[in-house]
Subunit: 200 residues, 2 copies
Amino acid sequence: MAKIDLARRAKIGRDRRARTRAQILEAGAALLAAGAALTVDAVAEAAAVAKGTFYYHFENVEELVAAVSVQLGRNFDELLTPARAELRDPIARLSFAFTQCLEKAISDNEWARLVVQTSQRPTEFARSVRDSLKVDLAEAIAQGRVTVRDPELAVDIFVGIWLQVTRGIIERAAPPELSWHALEAALRALGSAPHENRKL
Amino acid sequence: MAKIDLARRAKIGRDRRARTRAQILEAGAALLAAGAALTVDAVAEAAAVAKGTFYYHFENVEELVAAVSVQLGRNFDELLTPARAELRDPIARLSFAFTQCLEKAISDNEWARLVVQTSQRPTEFARSVRDSLKVDLAEAIAQGRVTVRDPELAVDIFVGIWLQVTRGIIERAAPPELSWHALEAALRALGSAPHENRKL
DNA sequence: TTTCACCTTGACTATATAGTCGAAATGACC
DNA sequence: GGTCATTTCGACTATATAGTCAAGGTGAAA
């Protein structure tokens, strides 16, 4: 029984289901990025799908937001895992992540908006970004590479500059070398010795 | 005609009107700080006032938010004008404002929440805080006192650290000397010479 | 072609929220 | 006590939104 059900489900469902779910996810991300009111009706309309279809894929809007957040998290990982594996130096990893994210924000305004909106909600994404940074910052602190001693404060400083500069990118044009200047400032804030910054 | 109307209005209205409006304003601020859904019904109930009364004082919720934002702005000015008048040094003014705000956030959690919530909406408050900081930072830049050259970036760095540390204060307990450490970090980020920091 | 599990639809109910308005309350002044 | 500008009240209408469900569509496999 179960075998047949699953086999059929796999064959028939995989495509349609995945496609529709992706549509809804994308529409949700777009509305979230735009800061629009996130209602089921709005999402369904933006996804060109009936209301009932939305509820077939998601329990409610909250679950959709969670799914968008998870997807954005994976997106981040893709952007950053290469460096995470290669770079041994925590400060180099932090620097890479920082500039990568700002550069992507500069080249993709909607992505930047999504990041900002998602960060200022209590999402899985916000938590995991914070956790990742804390690991690297704690390592840097343990190595005596930075002046700031409190990992939580270090994260707040790093995230604070990053998020606010991202907001700036959304609202104003990004001047040349913005990412680099912002990184320098963030490293100075942490109290990382100047010569460390040249790694990139 | 007008004379009588205005005289009566002044006598009769001033108290009741002001008191009720203040009640609504306070209720609105509390809900905004709590991050609750800001509906007219919720505000009216929290203010112990009928719905019609809300609409007698405010056009809609948006106008209430604007009024809360303006009030918070005045609150900020009261907190900071003493220093603004006395301190000639822009970096000393920035340092004073920075630590004052963090200390107040530490001692008044609801105030901190209100500041964060209000800052992440496009309010008059958010704009005016940014403008004030930009004036001082531009002066510091003009004096060659800081490394960062772009005033907008300088504001983003300063505001970013301040807001995120405030969020940290809300979510975690503030360790001793937090304000001071955060200020040191912010000044380092701007590239202010170390000895400048001792001003406070 | 038929079957059948899965997917999609949109109308429907229930609730929440915005905004209106006539009536009543208030209190200073006569 | 009576008058009257001002303020307050809450029921009412209209609209928006959440969530449900019976009916029908889809396409792979028999």
